[in-house]
Symmetry: C2
Subunit: 430 residues, 2 copies
Amino acid sequence: MNLGDQWAAQHAALDWQFKALPAIGEPVALDAVGAHGWSILREDVMLPAAVLRTEALHHNSRWMRRFTELAGVRLAPHGKTTMSPALFDLQLADGAWGITAATPAHVRIYRQHGVRRILLANQLIGRQGVAYVAAEMARDPDFDFYCLVDSIAAVDALDAALVACQPGRPMQLLVELGITGGRSGARDDATAIAVARAVSASPRLSLRGVEAFEGILQGQGVAGEPGMRNVLDRMVVVAAACRAENLFDGVPILSAGGSSFFDVVTKTLSAAEPLSCEVVLRSGCYLVHDSGYYADLVERLIARSPEAAELGEGLRPALEVWAYVHSRPERGRVIAGLGRRDISDDTRMPKPLLYARPGDAQPSSLGPGHATMRLDDQHAYLDVPEDSPLQVGDLIAFGISHPCTTFDRWPALYLVDEARAIIGAIRTFF
Amino acid sequence: MNLGDQWAAQHAALDWQFKALPAIGEPVALDAVGAHGWSILREDVMLPAAVLRTEALHHNSRWMRRFTELAGVRLAPHGKTTMSPALFDLQLADGAWGITAATPAHVRIYRQHGVRRILLANQLIGRQGVAYVAAEMARDPDFDFYCLVDSIAAVDALDAALVACQPGRPMQLLVELGITGGRSGARDDATAIAVARAVSASPRLSLRGVEAFEGILQGQGVAGEPGMRNVLDRMVVVAAACRAENLFDGVPILSAGGSSFFDVVTKTLSAAEPLSCEVVLRSGCYLVHDSGYYADLVERLIARSPEAAELGEGLRPALEVWAYVHSRPERGRVIAGLGRRDISDDTRMPKPLLYARPGDAQPSSLGPGHATMRLDDQHAYLDVPEDSPLQVGDLIAFGISHPCTTFDRWPALYLVDEARAIIGAIRTFF
């Protein structure tokens, strides 16, 4: 790891390139942001601005630490949600086993920030991606890297590439299981076991476990649960078959777990305990949570899971995007100054939660009947009650649904306290 | 303008923060990218990668230059589409009157790159936004700035803020007209004229024209056209009323024109010629165009408009995103390594257009039956014919629909020739 680069990235200044920087002034070093005493409610920064409520972040991080400790599983939170090394540090400090990545470019960003153990929850495909990982393995004997494979074709391609790249030790692979009609992953156990045999047969590859991503079924709600349980059961069957053929190197890893079924994943895969596997969850959204899609899914999870219920208060929404009321051209319609370039709309529309008039010391709740009906690139269309207090120039806080697709709109986010005073900032790397 | 900053931004190096950088090596200065001889088809950069076909870009820029010359209108292309100063330079070189912005943060980015005339096609709301524009007006007497206003409340707020900010000359405003159920803009002519009077009455404000954004109706197809013609007719009526009351300073501006109706806008507003207005279009998507939504809309435009038909070949799609085949877990299903973090899906799904096997000198067309069915954050699900040639490790080029929401996924894009050799790169600022 290049410490110069690491320092530069962590301490990067915010300048005119950052859309929520205050209007006037010099670039501000990231670690000096908190010292300026800026406040969202005092209009000290340009809006729209994305903010992370730090109390909620820390609560959520501790909540997941306690859940995984109670459940006896490991956590490699999906870093793609936030792509923010400062938040990875928080997750690692709260006991995370490693950080999950989605692409070779993610791996490169994580490595620049010193992440030692990375699970690439994806196939490793393409000349540059393989070359990067192999070079990094060769350079740093402590780099503990895992990725997925779901076909003989991919095993052969990776094996051939590693002949040329020479990482100096076998690359650790998990066989991926998938669901008919779904994403990657072997559709039947026989294919998965054939892939496992091919991995085990190569001196350049090491079979370390079995993987699935049950989260693709979460959109189906309760109807998706049987399919989800089925793929988890198949993981146990395939792992047992690989164990019987002695294909694994070391203690096998069973890895699954999006952000909505991790209780069921934990329970099902722990039933494979006679295999002495390590169970690795990969939830990414728990840290930031949301005010919509995942809020409902995790509420269902807590109702289902005695371990989660035991933890008391559930996850809190940590992310808000603040924007101005630009216009109220009809009594029942407000146009606000944020759009799909500022906030996610891929699962549900942003939720108007709070408002403040310039000068207010605290935000107030918006009553019922305020809802986002449409997002353009840079505008939101709100339906509001005829007697809504909103007027031109007011500030609105929007709750989000699906943090991943809000984070990637922001090269930096402000850290705030409950009065929305800005106490810091973090960078993201998309 | 701080020339040091300008230089730094234009000449910024691409480093590990950029997801499509080659695996190994030092940061590469933006203006040195072309000298490396990289090629998409030779897998010289990490994928996914977004590329701009330079021949198509130049063709489209010339096409719009000729259209606006034939039609006798001015063009302030919407810079929010690309947020790329290198492309603004191309548009200005091809005769653009100015660049349109959507937010005060856009204005700041444009100003850092030396854009002299900016039309903020939005209300200017909030302490920081007003402060930035006013300070920039005070600093540079050549800065020619325009923005919109649609309510007395907004006029009063802006007027009060300018008392404190002291830009040194009146701020130039266009009254915005809107459509019931639509975005910002006065819903009736009486309100618009009252707003115009309030602007004209303030020594800190200058009424310069009338504006509408007819593009919000484009999603309704032909059914939206009567509403669109109606709002354009209203612009002429309101401008005539303001002229009759002598509310305008200078030659009034009539500005409208998204990327799909600019022919009708031109024809209708030019009928206001007895007013001696300047007509300013704001189309943003023409330069890059697409392979979906706007392709169909502009085809309809060309069928409708003799001026456009006279220009010969229409607009070409300039933007592609390249990604790998990760898996073909069923004969009819391909999983590719790009997702909604890499390409837009807000109007239509990405279109698989071309493929290449590593080593191919030229890409080949994908036959019929290849279609994107779903995007996750980092994966695409394709339906493919049983006899599709695609296999793990192949490269696919996806055509896009709606350039704005693909550009904002990319801090930089490669410039390519028709063989997809990389001849340069441009930065974007989101």
